[in-house]
């Protein structure tokens, strides 16, 4: 009898313990901190709170399950407000991929609205630019590898590699936080990508918007960080309903 009681007690303790430290499945715990992103508010420190991030980008197979349950996001049903013509362009129809598309490759050709809806359906959300960049500045060993040449070289060499979106998730390195594929597979949506302003505030309507590269570089806190610069430039050129071949997403969750 005593033994049973003890067993019950132990299992209760065990269960509550695992609950307390429960980590959402397939998510990595990110300890927040303050850091200086490429573009800050006057290059000031940005505070990132603790959160969880998906270990892998969302795959074609994951996304198929989602559209099976949510008719409005099917390839044939999605409305023009939420996605352009290329939405799921590498899928044959609502439920089959084209022959060369692998189920465990990251889903691409998804709009910002679609990515947002997917994350919300899972009780998650899209990461902010600051959160994404915070996790992505880690290499295998350290939290902030931005000053390490090998890290920047790796990212830049990926930008030159063609068709990495055909690779499967998990095929790049696992970073300090246990997160894969932030660099080397696909670009990823962020919740506030439209906070990147290339034209600048049009205080002077005659100013030439084509000069954005120059004015943006002046705002950059680390002019050496060319790799990150390209990411910000891409975000600045996106529109929410665009669905691009090499743009996928992953979700995060508040702690």
């Amino acid at each position: 009898m005593k033994r049973i009681l003890r067993l019950v007690f132990l299992s209760v303790v065990f269960i509550s313990f695992t609950n307390l430290t429960a980590q959402p499945r397939d998510m990595a715990e990110i300890k927040g901190d303050a850091y200086i992103p490429l573009y800050g508010k006057d290059s000031a420190l940005i505070k990132v709170s603790d959160f969880y991030m998906d270990v892998y980008p969302v795959t074609n197979a994951d996304y198929l399950k989602f559209v099976n349950n949510h008719e409005k996001w099917r390839k044939s049903k999605v409305i023009a407000l939420f996605a352009d013509q290329s939405y799921l362009a590498n899928w044959q129809d609502d439920s089959t991929f084209k022959p060369d598309v692998r189920p465990d490759s990251p889903v691409t050709y998804v709009s910002w609205y679609a990515a947002k809806a997917y994350c919300e359906d899972k009780g998650k959300r899209l990461p902010t630019i600051d959160e994404w960049e915070y996790v992505a500045m880690a290499d295998k060993k350290v939290k902030d590898a931005r000053s390490i040449k090998a890290y920047t070289d790796y990212i830049l060499s990926w930008y030159e590699k063609p068709k990495t979106y055909n690779n499967t998730v998990g095929s790049t390195f696992k970073n300090y936080w246990g997160v894969y594929d932030l660099h080397g597979l696909v670009w990823e949506w962020t919740s506030d990508f439209n906070a990147i302003i290339m034209g600048g505030e049009s205080r002077n309507p005659t100013s030439d918007n084509n000069l954005f590269c120059g004015s943006s570089a002046i705002g950059a806190s680390d002019k050496m960080n060319y790799a990150a610069f390209i990411r910000y430039a891409l975000r600045g050129s996106l529109k929410a309903k665009m669905a691009l071949k090499n743009l996928g997403f992953r979700c995060v969750k508040d702690k």
């Binding site: 023009a80 407000l81 302003i197 049009s202 309507p205 929410a240 309903k241």
Partner: protein, 240 residues
């Protein structure tokens, strides 16, 4: 022969039309006319005379008119309409609405924030100039909508004050406070970019957008103090 058939059909249709008209007038005379607030501020409370709602001050509408309006609203909206958005907003009168509640009016929309002293006053002036250039006759069919990009600061009270300060506190000018998420989404619909640069300041693109009564984007002007003629023309074209 063919011509005759067409003629007959035409007459039949014309007859139908005048029949239904006669029906309506007879109905009116028997039931009397009742009026109701279009926003249903007091639930289903009805009035026997025209006037304005004591709560939201909107003009009361005849019940029959409301019926046909609501019937129109059941028609399908297109896939590119902003009325597909389900986010909820608060007006300067603290009323909760969805964008589709604005259906039926041509919408001239802009995103601003009330503590802004650089570009926003000029954007508001641009909105006023567009309004001034429109013929008086079509103004009742146009709403001017100001969406705050700073929903944390811009409460309905703040927006109300802002509306008053700009002499825009009436039915035709709608000021909206959304959720952080709703605002981000709406900005994406308008292709407006914005970013908080300090606790009280934002940088943002200066875009005025015109939507048809069914919520489709028909025109955008970007920049401050640009030529309004195209925008004014776009508004006129959407009003039937």
């Amino acid at each position: 022969m063919n011509k005759l058939v067409i003629l007959l059909v035409f007459f039949a249709l014309a007859a139908c039309k005048s029949d239904s008209k006669a029906d309506k007038t007879s109905q009116k005379s028997t039931t009397g006319t009742t009026y109701v607030c279009p926003m249903h501020c007091e639930g289903e409370k009805t009035y026997t005379e025209t006037g304005s709602c004591p709560i939201c001050k909107m003009d009361l509408v005849r019940i029959a008119e409301l019926d046909t309006k609501e019937k129109n609203e059941n028609e399908e909206i297109s896939g590119s309409s902003i009325f597909n958005l389900t986010s909820k907003w608060k007006t300067q009168n603290d009323k909760t609405i969805q964008l589709k509640d604005l259906r039926g009016q041509t919408l001239v929309m802009v995103m601003i924030y009330t503590s802004c002293d650089a570009a926003c006053p000029r954007l508001v002036a641009d909105m006023r100039n567009i309004e001034n250039k429109l013929p008086k006759s079509i103004l009742p069919k146009v709403d001017f909508v100001f969406v705050s990009i700073d929903p944390e600061t811009d409460t309905p009270e703040k927006l109300k004050q802002f509306a008053k300060d700009n002499l825009m506190d009436d039915n035709r000018h709608i000021f909206l406070q959304g959720s952080m998420d709703g605002v981000r989404e709406f900005a994406n619909v308008l292709s407006v970019k914005y970013s908080k640069i300090s606790p009280i300041d934002f940088s943002h693109s200066n875009i005025i957008s015109v939507f048809s009564p069914n919520g489709e984007l028909v025109h955008q002007q970007e920049g401050l103090g640009v030529d309004y003629d195209n925008t004014v023309r776009a508004v006129k074209n959407t009003v039937k």
